[in-house]
Every structure is written in structure tokens, then in C-alpha cells.
Amino acid sequence: MQASRLPRYVDICVIPILNLLTALFVAGIIIAIIGENPFTALSVMLKGAFVYKGGLGYTLFYTTNFIFTGLAVAVAFHAMLFNIGGEGQAAMGGLGIGLVALSLGGILPVLVVIALAILGSALFGAIWGFIPGYLQAKRGSHIVITTIMFNFIASAIMVWLLAGMLMAPNQMSPETISFQNGVMLWQFHDILNRLGFDIGRSPLNLSFVLALICCFLVWLLIWRTHLGYRIRATGFSPKASTYAGYQPETIIIITMAISGALAGMMAVNEILGVQHRVILNFTSGYGFTGIAVALMGRNHPLGIIFASLLFGALFQGGAELDFEFQTITRDMVVMIQGLIILFSGALAYMFNPMLEKLFLNEERLKEPNND
């Protein structure tokens, strides 16, 4: 990453929006090439995401997933660590929930089981982040490679357990039995129904509130605590932070554990909120989307909320494409996601020289007037 000489608001607002528009523009061209109208597709997506009954609920449901995985990537980014292991950490988080819910359900009160299950997801995710963190800090293995490998290892473990030991009896698909009645997070449409409002069915549940709380906690951690300062110092310059006595190794391990815990909690939304049992592949690539979310949100919780909302709308709107078009499917969303990662991640600074010319010249022109 390179230092920018641009005004702050350009860096924070103009560049992400410009990058997003470029990605959407390229997506629009591709839609046009395959013979559909990109504007019709856009309006179908917007209607599906916000206008149709229950649409907004689904959008916010997906948003919840992306807040968790986006925060996970962002926390690691602050220490200059690239955690691509969100997918595996979330899968392990689901396993954590399953083990708690299946072993303690019926023994302890329901609310206690729910609380422990949430902690279980964070703990299992944290372990799956801790190990790559430890290997990076103490043994020098590259975090990117280790987390990629850990995604595959997690997926193999899940197949092994869900098609083996944990598989529900008399059942063909690899999944556990349903949790005990009540071991779940309430869905908003149920809560509002009881209060007399009808918002249409959607899987949006209390995890959304949990996600927002996590956003606040991450903000607190990174910018208002000593640990957060040390995390950013380690990211900025490991050497300088060693000199300051911060032990970058320890910071790397702690950061990766926190990152893994956040990714693991994505499972709360999917498993405790909707499925109420552990199923295979419930992570569906949301861990990777977290990378795009963190990049767009500039690693700031507030930015991550907006970016998650954008991706939530894309995913929900993308589902609507399946119904309206014969040629455009949800895969369009996967492609747009790839384009966003390309333009707001790898090519994030493509427009910098142009913008610098534009804004810095303007300021130079202003100067004589000030005299």
C-alpha cells in the first residue's frame, strides 16, 4: 500500500465509489455482451434487494454474514496480516455451535446453551485463526498459504464429521440432527409479528444485532485500546514495534485469534439463526466475500457496515435475477464480486495519479486567491 497525497475525503469516499463504479461498469458491459439489458438487470436487483416484501430482510440477513467475515479480514489487515481463512474459520465456528448445542441442549437452560454456543463458534473460529497465526509468528510460515490450506483442511474435517460421527441417523444428506427446541436465535419477522407488524418472512435474526455490537467492539479495540494500538503499530512497522517492546509475535497470534473468532461467529447467523443444525458448506464463499467487504470498507467498521449492505443487496438481488432472466443467474454476483476485489483491491490505486492531478492542481490554483 502506498501513501496518498490526496485529501482525506477523496481517499475515503471518492476512490471506493470510483472503484465500485468501474467494477459495475465492466459488469454492465459483460451483461450487454451476453445480450441482456444491464439497466433492467440492475433494477431487478434493486427491487429484489429492497422493494419486494421480505427482500430487505434477506438483504440484511446476508449483510450480517458479511459484517462478521469483513470484520475478521479487517482486524487482521490492521496488523498487515492477510487472513484468507475466513471460510474455514466460519466452518469450524459452525462445528463449535453444533458441539455445544448437541451436547448441552436439554441439560442446561436454553438461554445458557445459546450463549455458550455463540462462545463456541467464536472459540472454534479463534483456534482456526490462532494456529496459522502461531505458525506465522513462531515458525515463519506465510499466513496466506497456511490459511488457504486450513480452509481445505476444515472442509475435509466437516465432511468427515458430518458424513460420519455427527451425521443424523436415517438420513441421506451430511448434516447433524436438529438442535433441541428453542436453541436458536429469534427471527425478526417472528418478533415483529407478535407486536402486530407484518414485514414478510425472512431469515433475518438477532445475529444482526450481534454483528453491529461486534462492529462497535472492533472499533473500540482498534482505535481506543492499548492492544489495538499495538496491533496497528505491528502492522505499520514490526521492527519499530519490537523496539517499543511490543513483541510483534504475540500481537500476530492474538490478532489472528480475534480475526478467526469474528469469522467463526458468522456461523451464528447461519446455524443458530436459520438452520438449527449443522449442515455442510453453509459458508458458501462468504468468507471470501469478507475480503471484498474489508477492501471496500477500508478496514473501518463503519465502512464495513456499508460495504456489507452493498454485498447483502447484491446477493439478495442476485437471487432475484434467477427468476427474472433465463441467461443471468446468481453467478453474476460472483463475477461482480471478483471485479470489485480486482478494482477496489488489486487496482485500488489505479486512479490515484489521475485524481492527484485533478485535486492537487485545483488546490494549487486556489492558493493565489488566498493571498
Binding site: I30, R139, V144, F150, I153, I157, I336, Q337, G338
Partner: protein
């Protein structure tokens, strides 16, 4: 015993088939990473190439035209990677990831637009594929030459031309990297780009050449999947092979011949995994093929952590080169 021997030969035979795309991609990775460019987009390039090869072979009826088209597209993907990380000094991991995700979306969207079969290409007839070549005198060898005769028939014969090309690519990679001036410069650019720059050779140019070669090799891997072993493109048909190849490349410590053996080892594990489901082994109990599949990844993690000898990646890997003025 003879039955075991025969089964073992068959396992080796399928090892070679499974390892072929891994070998191509691992060599691609070596070219790219030895020049200092991290390449996690092996998977995406292979997937794009697989799609283009099948679609073009279906349209033209010729697997060769399909292969050429696939290689061109794979090179284009490499060039996007280069545009982002060499010219704009973007993050190489992010760029690679973007290409992988882009590939899994694009192949399906274009596939549906062209063929309306849910993202698949139509099944290719035999004439539009690379078919297996039976080596000469197979039956004569089996009947008259002990031991080698059966190896010749079961292991060496009946492979398509791309299997042989993959094995040849290892030799070619070794030769280019270690016996030519180009290879020397390529390795230097991944270790100490300043040195190459001060010798008056363009770092940008060297790195672009390296990733173009990587593009060609990933293209061949894709061609193999959809028009040689497979009879058409299927959604997500690479299924993580690009990442296994990446693991094999690291396992081989960024060297062509050790990487070949890593590919064969990982291929062997996969071939065995397909055969041992439910087989009981004394003292160990039932082998789980689900876990066996994860073994390549686990081994790579253990190796990277320095528990089996040290690994040193190219020194300048992942760092964009900024020319001093």
C-alpha cells in the same frame, strides 16, 4: 500378491492422470513465483482455460484450436494479474484471488449464455478431444517381457498427449530456469530485482515474460481437464486443483523436479483416496478417504512450518519493484 501388484500399478496409472494438471500448474507457479510474483490464480486461469477449450472444441470440432484459444485466454488472465501487480503495484494475493473469483463467475455466465445447459458445455464427441494413445507392441510386450511388459501396458500406455507434455514441461522448466541466461535472470529478478535493474535489464519485462509462460502452462492444465480426461466443461471443474498445485510447488521448494514428485505424491494420495473408502487396515482401522484428501494440505502446512527441513521462498516474492530514480 499379483493382484496387489496389479492394483498398485493401476493406482500409479491413475496417479499420473490425476497429477497431470497439478504438474502443469506447479510449473506455472514456479515460473511466476521465481520471478517474484505470487500466483494464487493458478486455479482461476485453469478454470477459464478449461471452459474456453471445451467451448471452442465444441464449436470448431478441433481440440487443437480449443487448446490454442484456451492458452490465449489463460495468458490474458495472466496479463490482468500483471497489469494489477507489476504495473500498478497492487497486492498480488488480492489480484490472484480476484481472478479466481472472476473465473468461477464468468465461466458459468458465459456458459449459460452460449449453451443454456446450466453452465456446462455440451458433451464433446471423441473427435473433438485429445484421446489416449496406445503405445506400439503393447500386447507383444505384455506377453514376452516379464515385469516391464505389464508396467508398459498398464502404466505407460494409453495416456493422452497432454500427460506426456506435462512430464516434458518439468524438463523444459528445469532447463530454462537453470541452464539458460533467461532462467538466470528470471531467478535473479525474484531474489534481487535491483541487481537485474542495474544490469540494464527491465524487471517489468522479465516479470511479464514469466507470468506469460505461467499463463501458457495453466492453459494446458485447463485443456487437459475439459478436453482430454473430461468430455466437456463442468461448473467449478478445477475443484481446488490449482491450490493443491500451489501446495506442491511449495512442497517442492520452488524447484521443478522436487515439485514434480510432490505432484505425484499428492496425485497418488488422491488416487488412493478414491480406492480405500471403507477398506479396513490392521491396527489403524478404517481409512477415511475424506481425511486422506486433506493430507496434501496438512503436509504442506507442516513443511512450511519448518518441521521437515527449511523452506526459503524467493526473496523478493510479493514485493512490487519500485525503480529508484
Amino acid at each position: 500378491m499379483t493382484d496387489f501388484w496389479f492394483q498398485f500399478l493401476l493406482a500409479l496409472d491413475s496417479t499420473l492422470r490425476v497429477a497431470t494438471p497439478l504438474i502443469f500448474c506447479a510449473m506455472a507457479g514456479i515460473f511466476s513465483e521465481r520471478s517474484g510474483i505470487i500466483d494464487i490464480s493458478l486455479e482461476g486461469k485453469m478454470l477459464m482455460a478449461a471452459f474456453v477449450a471445451a467451448a471452442t472444441a465444441y464449436a470448431t470440432g478441433s481440440p487443437w484450436i480449443g487448446a490454442i484459444a484456451a492458452i490465449i485466454v489463460s495468458i490474458l488472465a495472466s496479463l490482468i494479474h500483471g497489469f494489477a501487480c507489476i504495473i500498478h503495484r497492487g497486492n498480488q494475493v488480492i489480484s490472484g484471488l480476484a481472478i479466481n473469483i472472476l473465473a468461477s463467475g464468468l465461466t458459468v455466465i458465459i456458459g449459460i449464455a452460449l449453451f443454456r445447459q446450466g453452465g456446462q458445455t455440451p458433451t464433446l464427441p471423441r473427435t473433438s478431444r485429445f484421446n489416449s494413445l496406445e503405445l506400439p507392441f503393447v500386447d507383444f510386450m505384455e506377453q514376452n517381457v516379464p515385469i516391464f511388459g505389464i508396467i508398459y501396458k498398464e502404466l505407460l500406455s494409453d495416456h493422452n498427449i497432454l500427460v506426456w507434455a506435462a512430464l516434458a514441461s518439468v524438463g523444459v522448466t528445469f532447463y530454462i530456469l537453470f541452464k539458460t541466461t533467461f532462467g538466470l535472470r528470471l531467478r535473479a529478478v525474484g531474489e534481487k530485482p535491483e541487481a537485474i535493474d542495474s544490469a540494464g535489464i527491465s524487471v517489468t519485462r522479465m516479470r511479464f515474460q514469466a507470468i506469460i509462460i505461467a499463463g501458457i502452462l495453466c492453459g494446458l492444465a485447463g485443456v487437459y481437464l475439459s478436453t482430454a480426461t473430461g468430455a466437456g466443461f463442468v461448473k467449478e471443474m478445477t475443484a481446488g486443483k490449482g491450490y493443491i498445485a500451489l501446495a506442491a510447488m511449495i512442497f517442492g521448494k520452488w524447484r521443478p523436479v522436487p515439485a514434480l514428485f510432490a505432484c505425484l505424491l499428492f496425485g497418488f494420495l488422491e488416487a488412493v483416496a478414491a480406492r480405500v473408502q471403507g477398506v479396513e487396515i490392521m491396527l489403524i482401522g478404517e481409512i477415511s478417504s475424506d481425511l486422506l484428501i486433506a493430507l496434501p494440505y496438512l503436509l504442506t502446512v507442516i513443511l512450511l512450518a519448518g518441521f521437515i527441513g527449511g523452506v526459503t521462498p524467493p526473496r523478493a516474492i510479493g514485493q512490487p519493484y519500485i525503480k529508484e530514480r
